[in-house]
């Protein structure tokens, strides 16, 4: 290689990079119902902009003839449906990202699935897009999925839409048909808040109006798909320019450096600017804006930097640094639109985790105001949201956070809900506005069940039924178990003769009938406590199997454990802490269990502890260990 050709290659490249530097980037999605030709459109764009490599083409030709749906033609969809299952089923399951560029722009396109069951994947692709290309099959017109996707596009904040009326070749390139669809879509989308909807008739398969204007539709004088993508204005006029900076990570590179690492989420910041720390209300001053390439004077939205303040202010991950002139909302309640993305339905009152900005805190949906029928945009009353349903909800956080309405800032106004246990991403949401406590005093009926109540305590409610002779050690062991559970933050309650016989059951004596009624009332009380989410420790001699079985039958499977405190009559009588055995032997107490009334020992107790040998502490440890193993605590 000669020196001169090196120089010319370098000059050529530098010219090229300069041109690249001026290029903006546009991220868009293609969406619409299955068979609207989304993948075909992208394949066509890649193909016509010569971004399909020879080896990819060879693989594509091979796959097309094997599983393609276009006869001898290349099936462009196969270029995008990269998963084996997608190719086999001929459907798109998950969003695929593709890259191409023209002289004017770099493009990242997310091809999203059309099937309703994969709506969450469509939302994934939409959330990072500037523009949505919504495809409609000219033969079929507007379908449910068209409307669902349009609504989600609007929900994630996309304001620029290209309505691509595809498969025009199948309707003889009919202008009437195109106008029909354009008008119908305009009526439907009127309330979705789009700034611009540009309708384009095309045939992705044949290439009409994709890159080149169509000779078959000379009646259309609008842009081609690519022409519109290259020129659509995405500098969001509505974008709030108030400085926002969610702190991601505190950088302590040395004892005298403490910087706050994050990405500017709105507006800009300069050295010397005052910044508000919303949680404490303190205002600091930007001392330095640190980057690997040296300190800078100003950072703009989208830039990842590290900010050092003049003052020593306690700031950790999750804080939202802001300009004091236009403060974010700080509070623990807001109204939001959410799209539910899990097979398990949304339960109001249940404790979820919310990730908002760089904070993750427990939160609850306190009220579903209504859900949206995406076919008609009608509001429908709802007590829950199922997979892919969209609702307007009130959300309460367990800790105050700072945020903005989504219309003001997409980054500080969006959140996801996460399941405590499975860690699944359950929902995505955008904040409409904050709620003040006063404005939200009126609460609607909440469907709070046993599980919801127990989850607040992070426990499984159940009844531990301690049975055994008088003096066997039931109450002593139950008390130690309760202490141990309490130490772990579990919510418990002990029901025993002392607190029941003096109140609830003070009308009962010790006849067999009264004993049965005594146990029945205790069991019913314990059942309510289980429904309240509590771990109940019931400590009663309860000599009869049938009554213990009755208690067991009152509650769900796995909610009842029989704990048999097995202590021989001799040991109990020797202990005789309350002097009852002596009285019974003397004939002063009738119907005393073990003396003149039978004790029917459990045959299948879940736990059996020896009340004669070992300490009560050991017995309690055994019980707590078993609870742990069973996942109760």
């Amino acid at each position: 290689m000669t020196a001169s050709s090196t120089i010319s290659a370098k000059a050529e490249l530098e010219r090229y990079i300069d041109a690249q530097e001026d290029k903006g980037m546009l991220r868009f999605i293609t969406c619409g119902s299955v068979d609207d030709g989304k993948s075909t459109l992208i394949g066509r764009l890649l193909w016509d902009s010569k971004l399909i490599f020879d080896d990819q083409l060879a693989a594509l030709e091979q796959a097309s003839s094997k599983v393609g749906t276009q006869g001898d033609n290349i099936d462009f969809a196969l270029l995008l449906d990269g998963l084996q299952a997608e190719r086999e089923q001929g459907i798109t399951i998950d969003v695929a990202y593709r890259f191409f560029s023209t002289d004017k722009r770099k493009f990242i396109v997310a091809d999203t699935p059309g099937h309703e069951q994969y709506t969450r994947n469509m939302a994934t692709g939409a959330s990072s897009a500037d523009v949505a290309v919504i495809l409609i099959n000219a033969e079929k017109g507007i379908l449910t999925q068209t409307m669902r996707h349009s609504y989600i596009v609007s929900l994630v904040g996309i304001r620029k839409v290209i309505l691509a009326v595809n498969k025009m070749d199948a309707v003889d390139f009919s202008q009437t048909r195109f106008e029909e669809i354009r008008k119908a879509y305009g009526e439907f989308s009127h309330d979705l808040g789009f700034d611009e909807v540009v309708a384009i008739p095309l045939s992705a398969l044949k290439g009409d109006n994709v890159i080149k204007p169509s000779a078959n539709m000379s009646w259309f004088d609008g842009p081609t798909i690519l022409g519109q993508l290259e020129t659509v204005d995405i500098s969001s006029a509505e974008q709030n320019d108030a400085f926002r900076f969610p702190v991601q990570w505190v950088n302590r590179s040395s004892s005298d450096f403490r910087g706050f690492a994050g990405t500017v989420a709105g507006g800009k910041v300069q050295t010397g600017d005052p910044v508000l720390v919303p949680s404490s209300g303190q205002i600091g001053t930007v001392a330095r804006i640190v980057t690997f390439d040296g300190d800078i004077q100003e950072a703009v939205a989208g830039q990842a930097v590290t900010i050092e303040l003049e003052e020593e202010i306690e700031i950790s991950r999750g804080e939202l640094l802001s300009t004091p002139d236009a403060r974010p909302d700080t509070g623990d309640q807001f109204e939001a639109k959410i799209i539910w993305m899990n097979e398990e339905p949304l339960l109001p009152g249940r404790r979820y985790l919310i990730k908002l900005g760089t904070s993750t805190v427990p939160a609850r949906v306190t009220d579903i105001k209504y859900k949206v029928n995406v076919n008609t945009l009608e509001h429908v009353a709802a007590k829950t949201l199922s997979l892919n349903e969209i609702g307007i909800c009130n959300i309460a956080l367990e800790r105050e956070l700072s945020f903005d309405p989504y219309a003001v800032n997409r980054t500080t106004g969006s959140f996801i809900l996460i399941d405590w246990y499975s860690n699944a991403t359950l929902a995505a949401g955008s904040i409409d506005f904050p709620l003040r406590r006063a404005s939200n005093i009126h609460r609607q009926f909440l469907d709070i069940d046993k599980k919801a109540r127990a989850e607040i305590k992070r426990q499984r409610p159940m009844m531990l039924w301690f049975t055994g002779l008088s003096g066997a050690g039931k109450s002593t062991i139950a008390n130690i178990v309760e202490q141990k559970l309490h130490e772990r933050g579990k919510h418990t309650y002990i029901l025993d003769g002392d607190n029941v016989r003096h109140g609830l059951n003070k009308d009962l004596g010790f006849t067999d009938a009264d004993r049965v009624e005594n146990i029945r009332r205790v069991a019913e009380t314990a059942k309510m406590m289980i429904d309240a989410g509590i771990i109940v420790l019931a400590s009663f001699i309860s000599p009869f199997r049938s009554e213990r079985q009755m208690a067991r039958d009152l509650v769900d499977d796995n909610e009842f454990w029989e704990v048999f405190v097995e202590t021989s009559l001799d040991v109990c009588e020797e202990r005789d802490i309350k002097g009852l055995y002596k009285k019974a032997r003397a004939g002063e107490i009738a119907n005393f269990t073990g003396i003149d009334s039978a004790y029917e020992p459990p045959e299948n107790a879940e736990i059996r502890v020896d009340g004669g040998a070992g300490t009560p502490e050991d017995a309690a440890d055994k019980i707590v260990g078993a609870l742990e193993e069973a996942g109760v605590i």
Partner: protein, 302 residues
């Protein structure tokens, strides 16, 4: 939100830095897979930017199959020393003891054992709960489908049909015991972006990317460099000196060279702009079977 004036590379850079910081803030034991290639070089550069003035607060992990180009290992050791990084090198010793090589076990089995299994061993051994990788969505069809934070079960499996939704830049970083994520800060970069960025930022890369006279043999349509005397030559094969370079680097018996005169970055990039084959073309493992990358990824390959 971003300023419309930020160039696409600065946007991609900021996105990658954001991912690095999120993962470091949310996970206990992150690690960065360092494969010594150009994507790893860019990844490391971005990591250094993300945590500056601190050094990246995680070690690098190199799963060494024993068949890397010698120049790669020399480059690795130099970079680690220069930047003051911690390097963990792991080799599947059982595989090595059993004599698993690309020649004896075929590229597929060899990759399973020495790379995928080696990687799983290393992740388990050090209990890493998040691993950064340099994979890009433009590389291959199944990669194009993957999330930036990609969940892995306790057995390191990827379930492509049931990925977590990933909206905006809100990455769900919650995992259960033994579960982990792979984090891909370069997801939205293209090969051209990588090269442009290397040029713009003056990032050091292994010299094998530049064209030079190297001894090669042609086998099954692939130009194979004779990096050391462990390459068994087939009858009739004689290494010949050719001006070649590599578009991608892996184990030398599995990585094809391309004939090229491009000895400088500008030349490489202008050659790329005219290229008619994708870079993974030189990788033997992708061609074994349809959906082979997806299958490997499900099993734990990066």
């Amino acid at each position: 939100m971003y300023d419309a004036d930020l160039s696409h590379l600065r946007r991609l850079e900021a996105e990658a830095i954001f991912v690095f910081r999120e993962v470091v803030a949310e996970f206990e034991h992150p690690v960065m897979l360092y494969s010594i290639g150009k994507d790893s070089s860019v990844l490391l550069h971005l990591a250094r930017k993300a945590f500056f003035p601190s050094t990246p607060p995680f070690p690098l992990l190199h799963v060494d199959t024993g068949w890397k180009f010698r120049e790669m290992i020399a480059f690795r050791d130099k970079i680690v020393a220069e930047y003051g990084l911690r390097l963990v090198v792991h080799t599947n010793e059982e595989g090595r003891a059993e004599g698993v090589t690309p020649f004896t076990h075929g590229s597929s089995r060899y990759t399973d054992i020495m790379k995928t299994e080696g990687l799983r061993q290393a992740l388990d051994k050090h209990k890493f709960d998040a691993a950064f990788g340099g994979a890009r969505r433009d590389e291959e069809a199944s990669r194009a489908k993957e999330r930036i934070l990609s969940f892995r079960t306790a057995t390191h499996r990827w379930d492509p049909k049931n990925q977590r939704p990933e909206l905006w830049s809100l990455y769900n970083a919650r995992v259960g015991k033994g579960e982990s994520v792979r984090a891909f800060p370069l997801s939205n970069w293209t090969e051209l972006d990588i090269w442009q960025y290397i040029y713009m930022e003056n990032i050091p890369i292994v010299p094998l990317y530049y064209a030079a006279k190297r001894p090669v043999v042609e086998r099954d349509g692939i130009l194979m460099m004779v990096d050391d005397d462990r390459l068994p030559l087939e009858p009739g094969e004689t290494p010949v000196e050719k001006s070649v370079r590599f578009r991608t680097l892996g184990c030398y018996p599995l990585t094809g060279a391309v004939i090229s005169q491009a000895a400088t970055l500008p030349e490489i990039i202008s050659e790329m702009l005219r290229a008619r084959t994708s870079e993974r073309h030189g990788r033997l493992i992708d061609h074994d079977q349809a959906g082979s990358m997806e299958k490997k990824k499900q099993e734990g390959y990066f």
